[in-house]
Symmetry: C2
Subunit: 307 residues, 2 copies
């Protein structure tokens, strides 16, 4: 038991996974929830994710010692405005948003003085959304980044870190701006690029959708997974991490143009050198346990893919 | 038995998979091979991939009724120059190259009149290379595109199509130029984009490699798989399909710039609409059996990922 009573605001993939993991590991006496849509609330009740779903966020947080904002980040401001008067003295307010500076700028001024605001970002997810997608193992072996302010209460920070550890995650601490830059590289730019490539394929007239689908195993299908992620969440991420995302995309197009030029001018050696170097990073990711070594992400269950 | 004697020139992932599949399904009386490097030849012998590895391509093709070029495409010209005098009357010469117009332009003029040249491209692969990576199931459920010339011998074409069918692939026929455009979309542009994104992450100074690796599960790691593909093969693909690849990359940067502008100018509705539409294609790919419906490509073996 790490918290007495947890309130989850929003009930998508991450919230439902927190609910299941917290229950499995016995991390709270009670879990309350709120979701804007009635169908989400019903699904959460059906799956038995929480002890009670509440009609308003105010009701859900009343009496909680941990409140976690799990909606798309654009909703954080209005939610915190509503719940602020109901947050208990000494309670911790956290979140799971993929951007941190923007969230801190929006939320911090609204948090009562006797409440600990400790922003968090679990680096975990799948392409599926909604309360039906959550599972207790989502955070196992993944990282959760906390970006507490310089004046944060150490005990409250340790407690939240312990909560994430207990759900199987490793915890890192980072400055919010640096978090946003790191995630622009490892998440936000790759997502925008994947969305764009899938959009381009969709918009071509000379190649049909049926052709794109049939021959997608040649590489394209890998992009479609992350381009199937939740549109609202990702709209908010890009608008909430504008500067770092645009900076990385600028670097990306710069290098893409250099490689396009190498293709146009037959500089095979430039291409070969570039492609050799990029192999190393994948090796590092596999060694760090952040991806499978099985070929094709282990999609096939054949003789080759038995480790 | 579809062919009496098959010769495979080059012994990487695709050739070794053909050898294993042809053997498993009894598609040839005998399989001969040639590889440029001694270590590749030794590995092929160790795995028992072929009946015999030969020191020269000339020796390997002597007496074969099907010869398949499986090296990087830049080697095709010089190989066919060498083997042309040894190709038997009525034999079929094919290949597995990822580009087709360039291959036809290079190879067709060198092929003797009494030999059937039928270019092919199996849309199958993994990020692993070499004779140790092949497996008999590689082509199962995948497509193989044949691009025979207008004057091709129908019987020889049907026989080659039957060979691919027997290894588990479905066969499609296409004009070579159209093949190159389709593959530019579903394979070549995505690979260059993935290589570029991984290169950008590698070249940043403000984000360390260790950070990129630790937080790669947020999307980036998906790109690293295809950016771990064979550098020589991919150099040749880009140089061999220059025009279509650059055309698609041009469309890609055009759309990327439009989305960057939408981010910069806070046009959330434009982003949301774009991200909603791209979900459809993934659904199509899964319904067509070209990718798994399991979340995260089925990387995890947990409760959620039991279909």
């Amino acid at each position: 038991m790490i918290y007495r009573r947890i309130a989850l605001i929003g009930m998508g993939l991450v919230a439902s996974s927190i609910a299941l993991a917290a229950k499995r590991h016995g991390l709270a006496e009670r879990i309350d929830g709120h979701a804007k849509s009635a169908s989400t609330s019903e699904l959460a009740v059906e799956r038995g994710l929480v002890d009670k779903m509440h009609a308003t966020p105010e009701e859900a947080v009343d009496g909680a010692d941990l409140v976690v904002l799990c909606t798309p980040v654009s909703a954080f401001g209005s939610i915190v405005e509503r719940i602020a008067p109901f947050l208990g003295k000494g309670a911790t307010l956290s979140d799971v948003g993929s951007v941190k500076s923007h969230v801190i700028k929006t939320v911090a001024p609204l948090v009562p003085e006797d409440v600990h605001f400790i922003p968090a970002h679990p680096i975990a997810g799948t392409e599926h959304s909604g309360p039906q997608s959550g599972f207790a193992e989502l955070f196992e072996g993944r990282w959760c980044i906390l970006t507490p302010g310089a004046d944060a209460d150490q005990e409250a920070v340790d407690r939240l870190a312990g909560f994430w550890n207990a759900m199987g995650a490793q915890v890192d601490f980072m400055d919010a701006d640096h978090h946003d830059l790191v995630l622009a590289v490892t998440s936000h730019a790759p997502h925008l690029i994947a969305y764009t490539m899938v959009g381009v394929a969709d918009h071509l007239r000379r190649v049909t959708s049926s052709e794109v689908i049939k021959y997608s195993a040649a590489g394209f299908r890998d992009f479609t997974r992350i381009a199937a992620s939740d549109p609202t969440m990702w709209r908010d991420v890009f608008l909430g991490n504008k500067q770092a995302t645009l900076e990385i995309l600028g670097r990306f197009t710069e290098e893409l143009f250099a490689l396009q030029r190498a293709i146009r001018t037959d500089q095979g050696d430039v291409l070969h050198k570039y492609f050799r170097e990029t192999r190393e990073i994948r090796r590092g990711i596999i060694e760090a346990g952040q991806d499978t070594a099985l070929s094709d992400f282990g999609r096939r269950k054949d003789s080759e893919n038995q480790p």
